[in-house]
């Protein structure tokens, strides 16, 4: 059992190496596609730095993969409000990300007041609050306040969306 879980955890960190490698490859591939007319005023050109960065990423990816296979492990970050004893709580994180995505989809069409309300209310719910009505009131109040605060105080007009004309 324990060897299985450590094996799986090790594999999860290999994903990081994979991501680094992919990022490095992407940077290199993009750099190759650039055209550089040689010029005296710019001997370095736009390609050099991407090549170095891409190489750095790929080297890190390889070394990290070796490090992980040899049993190296990144130390998860602690914090005053973090308990590392239990595994990641996806039941909290995924709905939270869901509320975030919903906000992205709604913001231009429905406007900030609606999408912001959805975002805050959804996040609070995902994080485990069960005072539906109180949370709803706080969400609407926050969204309205920021909408008017940005408009009147900072001169930034957040999208009004569906409520155009009402607000």
């Amino acid at each position: 059992m324990s060897s299985l879980t450590t094996g799986l955890k090790g594999r999860a960190e290999l994903g990081v190496a994979l991501l680094l490698g992919a990022a490095g490859a992407l940077v290199l591939w993009d750099a190759i596609g650039l055209v550089t007319p040689y010029s005296k005023s710019d001997p370095v050109g736009p390609k050099t730095v991407p090549y170095i960065v891409g190489a750095l990423l790929i080297i890190c990816a390889v070394l990290l993969a070796i490090n992980v296979l040899r049993g190296g492990k990144g130390e998860a970050e602690g914090g005053e409000d973090v308990e590392l004893g239990h595994p990641a709580d996806w039941k909290t994180v995924l709905p939270l990300a869901g509320a975030f995505v919903l906000n992205i989809l709604l913001i231009d069409w429905a406007g900030w007041v609606i999408s912001g309300t959805v975002l805050f209310w959804g996040s609070v719910l995902a994080l485990g609050s069960r005072h539906y009505v109180r949370d709803g009131i706080i969400s609407v109040a926050l969204s309205l306040l920021t909408f008017y605060g940005f408009y009147l105080g900072l001169g930034i007009a957040l999208p009004a969306g569906l409520l155009e004309g009402v607000l």
């Binding site: 990022a23 490095g24 650039l34 001997p43 990300a97 913001i107 900030w112 105080g153 999208p159």
Partner: protein, 537 residues
Amino acid sequence: MDVWSSLMDGFATALTPMNFLYAVIGVILGTAVGVLPGLGPAMTVALLLPVTYALEPTSAFIMFAGIYYGGMYGGSTTSILLNTPGESSSVVTAIEGNKMAKAGRAAQALATAAIGSFVAGTIGTTLLAVCAPIVVKFAVSLGSPSYFAIMMLALLAVTAVLGSSRLRGFASLGLGLAIGLVGLDSVTGQRRLTFGQPLLSDGLDIVVVAVAIFAVGEALWVAAHLRRTPLHIIPVGRPWMGKQDWKRSWKPWLRGTAFGFPFGALPAGGAEIPTFLSYVTEKRLSKHPEEFGKGAIEGVAGPEAANNAAAAGTLTPMLALGLPTNATAAVMLAAFTSYGIQPGPQLFTSEGPLVWALIASLFIGNLLLLIINLPLAPVWAKLLQLPRPYLYAGILFFATLGAYSVNLQAFDLVILLVLGALGFMMRRFGLPVLPLILGVILGPRLEGQLRKTLQLSAGDPAGLWSEPIAVVIYIIIGIILLWPLLFKLFRRNRAAAAPAGPQLKSGSSAPNEAGGSVSHASHRASGGDGGDGDGDG
């Protein structure tokens, strides 16, 4: 350019009613975020960046300065009352501070922390005002090759020295540099890493990147690992100190300041090492060594002073050279760029009034913090009862709002989420976030200096070491990079001879750059771990 008259002008600017108001807002916000779990000064400044676009840059920076110093104060409150150091720099404070609080001396612990921070902050800011112009005078004589070398040093020092794994530091740096590449190449105008997406051709907004990594990544990470067992705060009245406490505190304050400032000013110096050094020194010099581990006031006074002096020290390279050495300074530097202000040695001449107003506001903020914090400590402690759902939902809400308001594009929110997920992953697998942020901010400037250098030398790489300062810095970089190797050799040769004693002494005379960074790496290896271990218990 007389320092004194410039500073007085700075006070005149910082004391106008509006700017004073922003200073007050800054220190209150700063203390609040220092006290609240999960929020740090870097995240707060990042979250506020978009909101402050409508403000005068001067007002905005006065507020940021307040947040920066306030965050340091607030952090000590939770360390002492709860034994949960929020930032690595307050880990040491928690060791003795919490013991004092448990022994019923919370008021004295908070008082010595607050007054010590004030003393250290004031001395540190004075040193900043004196040193920064000198550094500038020296820096304006430097050319591109030296700048390139100095930036390399800052990047590599932060990456190689801080954090527990160098490899993961470099991985993070690489990601940051790659993010910094996105957009139009400033010289040839070619699109790099834009994948035909026109929205990417302006590059990724640094505000969006900072908010994503610091705020969204952190909120998601904490949400995945919420602490379930509630802690109990040690009730506290108004902080105060008796005569005996003053007598035992003032020397540690001054010694802590002496440790903190130079380390803060070094690339990758940070606040963690000086706080630990200060703790060890006080333990050795104390007349009451038996109290250490049971709540010795010197063990709170020294490290807290070191911590705040380091904060002031950090601002020296930030203002004088445009080099950030910690997360908050990095975000503040990003703020300069967003206002169209070019950071670097020209800053003191081109934006003199702003810089001096900022320095003056640091003095004011320090005093405000003392006035606000001594009587209000019990109120700040109440903040900790805020239910988490509201706290973290609030962070996400304001992160979204801030990132969106920069360009009013939903596309930025997609970037925010993607980079937030990256921030989450980095925290999960122990990749430090600071090298990434520095890579994003310094990467493009580093490339600019590289191209300028080689343009001057007509493509000859020897141009890179054409200035003596550059050569010296490359040697330092070499030593830092090879340090683990050298350290092993050193250990093998000297076997079990002389343990930590002489090394610690060398750290106290740190102002010279070369000696400082090198001895510092050794403390990290020998000392830093011990400090962390104690704090978590």
